[in-house]
């Protein structure tokens, strides 16, 4: 079942970041704070992400759906978000995919 996290782009360089709670924004999707179950919980998480001086780090936060893969890692459900977590599918040498083990090629 899909769960939700909050994502945005980092102000200084535009790279994709995720809300990790406590006003922290992280580049690794697996450190993202998962929305607790319950009605309106997503909106509450988004509201929390949008507090304090979030604007100094994160541009235009929004909710996105994730599921866990076989190894328990978080994976976006939508193709667009998959591309955001990895980088361009046509330039495997660029973007986040060169940082970690799971690229488009996988």
């Amino acid at each position: 079942m899909a769960e939700q996290i909050v994502t945005a782009n980092r102000l200084n360089d535009g790279i994709v970041v995720y809300f990790a709670g406590d006003a922290r924004w992280v580049a690794d999707i697996n450190e993202a704070r998962l929305c607790p179950a319950g009605k309106d919980a997503g909106e509450a998480l988004l509201a929390e992400a949008k507090t304090g001086s979030y604007q100094a780090t994160a541009v235009d936060p929004y909710l996105m759906d994730v599921v866990r893969d076989a190894e328990g890692r978080l994976e976006p459900t939508k193709y667009r978000e998959k591309i955001r977590t990895l980088g361009p599918s046509v330039r495997l040498d660029l973007g986040k995919q060169v940082w970690g083990p799971k690229g488009h090629a996988a």
Partner: protein, 556 residues
């Protein structure tokens, strides 16, 4: 080439300094993203999926070798070693950091380039026929008038907050290479019976969500009235364009809504107060601008170079390239050379910093230091001696810039799509790459002949899919990429919107679908008949039938 005057120079440098200040205020928290966004957009700074994107104008597609070296330098120093030439004669960098953009803008300003009005609801970069001033068939040089329109529209106080963006294209030739009928305003320079220059003014064309072919508002507007009449057209739009609904805010909707006759009546009425006023174009000003575009120092050469002709005879590979890459020049003994940025399997419109530097060197050596950018996402060396063509071709080959596919099926126009763009609903580049690999054989491509394929990754139609001979539109169907295919569109002087051949097909089947269309054409064409002519002769029927027979919308 046009050189900045003091006014232009001051403006661009000031803008770069202002932007440095705006970025600092955004970083310090003094202004919010909502306040900053319109400021960055007015300087061509977008936020895409993975990073910021910086769009730089190349007005009417004209570049000096020096400017090309600056573009290469920016790609190498501030980006990831490449740039993307767009369908509006701009270049986009996909990875600049916000912190470095003010410095990039200063570097570009030194080479008389900028991103001002490359975004936002204003009059965008004026585009023009990439062969302006050099092509044999030309009636009038579109660069002169594009520059005049650029000066008029730059920071125009009344038109800085239009209902929506506004795009103007200019041609001065009978063959339209600037797609003037699918712009907000298209200008076609021509001569009247007395030999006087004037413009056919076409309004309300556009693609995107609701595509329209533009309608002629004036058959022949004498050149001195061009700016005052444009001002009148823009005023009517500024007043009545639908500011309440982004999707209905372009001028095409207004023109369609009230009709071209009524639009003309209102524009004419507005023009009453403007005609013969301050916007009348003085002949001296036209001549001043024209002087910047004076022909370079051509040599006096025979019309046909025997060495070149011998090479055409001897070398089949060179001949295949020359057949599609070379266009007749107005100066005897010279040629216009199209350079394909569509290597087989490559990313349409991308050029590496090394390729840009190589092209700047080749422009210095062979093209009187000048280059052009075509809206087909290719480049042009506009001033090459026929006697240099063989040597040039060999050097282009060494830089993977001599693919003999200009105007052929693998010369695909593709937007960045979902690999980069925040608006996209599907990928376009990998579809272009697969298509290009599928039809990799140049022999096969030359047999198929002229065939324009345009692939957009969303309804906004940056790749002009509605006017592709084959148009492909990527859509999202429950999280999966699907592609709607149209045929019979064209962007030239006979502009027409394509028709759907069948239901949308999956990412996996899209190449099969193109194959069916191409094979249907090959089966039904008459000797020497081009794809678009076959579609126009037979209609869409046989293609629809072939499409349906293959069950292309079923799972693979």
């Amino acid at each position: 080439m046009y050189r900045y005057d003091e006014f232009d120079r001051t403006l661009v440098l000031e803008r770069a300094r202002q932007f440095r200040n705006q970025v600092a205020r955004r970083q310090s928290g003094e202004i919010t993203e909502d306040q900053f966004k319109p400021l960055r957009l007015m300087n061509g700074v977008y936020l895409q999926l993975h990073a910021y994107m910086l769009r730089i104008n190349i007005p009417y597609g004209t570049l000096s070798s020096r400017q090309m070296r600056t573009l290469a330098h920016v790609a190498r120093t501030y980006d990831k070693g490449y740039g993307h030439f767009t369908t509006r004669q701009n270049i986009q960098y996909n990875w600049p950091t916000l912190e470095e953009i003010p410095e990039i803008l200063e570097v570009l300003a030194e080479a008389e380039m900028h991103g001002i009005q490359s975004s936002g609801n204003c009059i965008r970069n004026v585009t023009a026929d990439q062969y302006g001033g050099v092509v044999a068939e030309e009636v009038e040089d579109p660069r002169v008038w594009s520059e005049l329109v650029r000066q008029w529209s730059t920071l125009h106080p009344e038109f800085s907050f239009l209902p929506r963006k506004f795009k103007i294209a200019v041609t001065g030739s009978p063959s339209d290479r600037a797609a003037v009928k699918v712009h907000d305003i298209g200008l076609r320079a021509h001569k009247n019976a007395e030999g006087k220059i004037g413009f056919e003014i076409i309004v309300g064309g556009g693609l995107g969500r609701t595509p329209y072919i533009g309608k002629t508002i004036a058959e022949f507007m004498p050149a001195e009235h061009l700016l005052s009449y444009l001002e009148a057209i823009l005023r009517v739009y500024n007043r009545y364009g639908r500011r309440d609904n982004k999707y209905k805010a372009r001028i095409k909707i207004l023109v369609d809504d009230i009709g071209i006759e009524e639009y003309r009546r209102q524009a004419d009425e507005e023009w009453e107060s403007l005609k013969d006023g301050a916007l009348t174009v003085p002949q001296e000003e036209v001549e001043r601008i024209r002087a910047y575009f004076a022909p370079p120092a051509y040599e006096t050469l025979p019309a046909r170079d025997s060495g070149y002709e011998a090479k055409l005879f001897e070398d089949a590979e060179f001949r295949a390239w020359a057949k599609v890459a070379i266009t007749a020049h107005r100066q005897p003994g010279y040629a216009i050379v199209d350079i394909s940025l569509k290597p087989i399997g490559g990313i349409p419109g991308d050029a590496s910093a090394d390729q840009m530097d190589a092209l700047a060197d080749l422009a210095d050596e062979y093209s009187l230091s000048e280059l052009r950018v075509a809206h087909e996402q290719n480049l042009v060396l506009p001033n090459v001696r026929q006697s240099d063509l063989y040597a040039l071709w060999q050097k282009l080959k060494a830089h993977d810039l001599a693919t003999a596919n200009i105007g052929l099926i693998s010369d695909v126009i593709a937007c960045p799509g979902m690999d980069y763009c925040a608006l996209a609903t599907a990928r376009s580049i990998p579809v272009a790459q697969r298509l290009s690999k599928h039809f990799a054989s140049l022999e096969k491509q030359h047999d198929i002949g002229r065939l324009h394929v345009n692939i957009s990754g969303c309804i906004n139609a940056c790749a002009h899919h509605h006017v592709g001979h084959i148009g492909i539109l990527g859509v999202d169907k429950r999280g999966e990429e699907f592609y709607q295919i149209t045929i019979g569109g064209r962007a030239d002087e006979f502009a027409k919107l394509g028709d759907r051949v069948g239901p949308a097909v999956s990412y996996d089947r899209v190449i099969d679908a193109i194959d069916v269309i191409v094979n249907t054409y090959l089966k039904l064409r008459q000797p020497g008949e081009k794809f678009i002519a076959t579609v126009e002769r037979l209609g869409i029927g046989p293609f629809k039938e072939a499409f349906a027979e293959e069950n292309l919308d079923a799972a693979a």
